[in-house]
């Protein structure tokens, strides 16, 4: 029983990371209707920048994490301003290709600057390791879950209660009408990318002590984050959180009880299954167009 609970806890912890990645997809899609293929790279860069600041420049962990979030947010806004906004071909395919190119670019930048080693952040500390009924709640997993709760709460407050959140929702529902009300779609778009990048970077920094940071990890985070977003219902922030936790749980259960070699394939198989059979997901409002 304790082993089962431990596996469940591990699954929820990594699931929280996937939830943050999924929120990145959802926020950007809601604001711009663009699927940002570089979202996984935001997560990767958050972890890798923080880890290399700590390992190579001996920065203290909180400062390294903070700077990593700032840098990745800037890169996210840059992707919007210089990539998506500048695209000559303003079609879905065009934007998809631009973000695919950007994911390669960010991966390459990280490979050249942070190197080809898997780097680990030290545990964040401060919070204690807990032990309840033979189940270990490590300090880092508490940090992860706490961050998810805070970020989700902050985002809900932002979107439901603040003016800028309502402006973003208005811009996503109808860009033209929002523009008539004085809301700049370009600014909302940059804001969305920035928020997605910040959330992703936090996630990357949180998982770096546990899973390490490596320039090739972005693909995995991106695909699993996308799978989480689709599972929860693409376009729904609540769905993104639930989807992430579910994907993490399913991945952990299958690794623990079935086979750990195919662990990464589980989330991908779920993604394919969803796309083919159930694209609207749990809480989806967005229906995939069928041809």
């Amino acid at each position: 029983m304790a082993q089962f609970l431990q596996i469940v806890l591990a699954g929820i912890s990594i699931g929280a990371i996937y939830s943050l990645a999924a929120l990145g997809f959802t926020i950007v899609f809601n604001a711009t209707k663009v699927t940002n293929f570089a979202n996984g790279e935001f997560v990767m860069m958050g972890g890798l920048v923080a880890a290399s600041l700590v390992s190579n420049a001996q920065w203290p962990v909180p400062a390294a994490v903070a700077l990593a979030v700032v840098v990745v947010t800037a890169l996210g806004i840059a992707l919007d301003k210089f990539g998506v906004q500048q695209a000559r071909r303003k079609t879905i395919l065009g934007y998809a290709m631009v973000t695919i190119g950007a994911s390669l670019l960010y991966r390459g930048i990280m490979q050249v600057s942070a190197g080809r080693d898997v780097l680990f952040l030290p545990n964040f500390g401060v919070l204690p390791d807990l032990r309840l009924f033979d189940v270990y709640f490590t300090s880092q997993s508490t940090w992860i879950l706490l961050t998810l709760v805070i970020v989700s709460g902050a985002l809900s407050y932002l979107f439901l209660r603040t003016r800028i959140g309502k402006a973003m929702r208005a811009a996503s529902q109808s860009p033209r009408a929002a523009a008539l009300c004085g809301i700049e779609p370009a600014r909302m778009s940059a804001l969305a990318f920035g928020m997605a990048a910040a959330a992703g970077a936090l996630a990357g920094a949180l998982v770096a002590p546990v899973g390490g940071a490596f320039f090739e990890y972005g693909l995995g985070f991106g695909l699993k984050g996308f799978a989480a977003a689709v599972l929860g219902g693409f376009g729904s922030p609540v769905g993104a959180v639930i989807g992430g936790l579910l994907i993490g749980l399913l991945e952990s259960l299958s690794a623990g009880y079935l086979s750990s070699a195919y662990k990464d394939a589980v989330a991908l198989a779920i993604l394919l299954g969803l796309l083919l059979a159930w694209p609207s997901g749990l809480l989806g409002r967005v229906e995939a167009r069928r041809v």
Binding site: T35, F37, F82, G83, Q86, A87, R88, R89, I92, L93, G94, A96, M97, V98, I100, G101, A102, S103, L104, L105, Y106, R107, G108, I109, Q111, V112, R116, F215, L219, L223, F226, A227, A261, Y262, D264, A265, L268, A269, L271, L272, L275, L276, P279, A288, R289, R290, V291
Partner: protein, 331 residues
């Protein structure tokens, strides 16, 4: 309004221009084969030709039908492993192995295409990406079949047709050059046929094309199957040329490189795939320590091209040249 004969004439001229192009390609390939002796250069050309065959499939799928697939490496792997296993474990002649590999990759593509091609752009890209990664994981994990990542397939005999063994780049070059010319002719014929025009129509608007009587699903499935088969053929040739390889070849990087080949060349014509394959294969040899900067270079190239020249770098350059030429003629 141009008279109908004029339009037909233009279309026919374009076709014969492309066929002449294939003839020129054959002549150039012949000339290169007879004059170039450095084994290194010939190796580069062999790899370029192999990837060009796969890129031609990608060009049909992405350039003409507009279906983005970031998982083609899976079919490259199917072709390579099928050829390797049929020759090594069952002792089949390599030519038969190559045919089987192409066919198997095509069948696999056909099986996967019907469900996948129901997805639209973003979901299709993610779906094919996921499919490619799953296949890579399977290749890496099924060690008893594929040898996985360590040791992989080792000691595959080089390609041989009857008594002729193609164990040097010089000899393999003739085979791949011939196969490339044949495939190019096939693709040109397809592009200029009713199916090719149907593909161009459905790329622009599937609904409109359906309204014109195009069987959209069958066209997309057929294109995907053909692309998979061509990629499998390339994989088979690759396996015999390399004689030893492991699963790391068939990862996302290869799928992305195939996409880059089509994008860098020109999305609109098969010749772009040829140019792109040459570019992507040969560029690494000009930069020292390319492996280290590979992702960065591809990232810059892909981002720049997709932002500023979405129809392909080759086409962008041609457009600029044509507009300069037109301006001078007006003067």
């Amino acid at each position: 309004m141009a008279p109908v004969e004029d339009v037909r004439g233009r279309v026919a001229r374009r076709y014969w221009r492309d066929v002449t192009g294939v003839a020129c390609l054959a002549v150039i390939a012949l000339a290169i084969g007879l004059t170039v002796t450095r084994s290194y250069y010939l190796s580069m050309l062999v790899y370029s030709a192999i990837f060009a065959i796969a890129a031609l499939g990608m060009s049909l799928l992405f350039g003409f039908a507009g279906q983005i697939s970031v998982g083609q490496a899976a079919f490259f792997g199917v072709g390579a492993y099928t050829s390797a296993l049929l020759v090594m474990r069952l002792g089949l002649p390599p030519l038969l192995g190559m045919v089987c590999a192409t066919a198997l990759a095509g069948v696999f593509g056909w099986l996967v295409s019907r469900p996948l091609l129901r997805l639209t752009t973003n979901y299709l890209a993610m779906g094919t990406l996921a499919f490619g990664v799953i296949c890579f994981i399977v290749f890496a994990q099924l060690r008893f079949i594929t040898g996985g990542i360590d040791p992989g397939i080792v000691g595959l005999a080089p390609f041989s047709i009857g008594p002729i063994v193609l164990d040097e780049p010089r000899k393999m070059y003739w085979l791949v050059a011939m196969v490339l010319c044949i495939v190019m002719l096939l693709v040109i014929n397809l592009v200029h046929s009713r199916i090719g025009r149907a593909l161009k129509a459905l790329k622009v608007s599937e609904v409109a094309a359906a309204g014109l009587g195009v069987d959209v699903v069958r066209c997309k499935v057929a294109t995907f199957t053909l692309a998979a088969a061509l990629t499998g053929l390339a994989g088979s040739l690759y396996a015999h040329f390399q004689t030893a390889f492991n699963a790391t070849v068939f990862g996302v990087g290869l799928s992305i490189e195939l996409l880059i080949m089509v994008v860098v060349g020109s999305v609109a014509t098969p010749w772009g795939a040829l140019f792109g394959a040459l570019f992507v294969t040969i560029l690494p040899s000009f930069l020292d320590d390319f492996e280290h900067y590979k992702l960065l270079v591809w990232g810059v190239v892909m981002s720049a091209v997709m932002i500023y020249m979405p129809d392909g770098f080759g086409k962008g350059v041609v457009d600029v040249a044509v507009s300069l030429f037109k301006r001078r003629r007006l003067k």
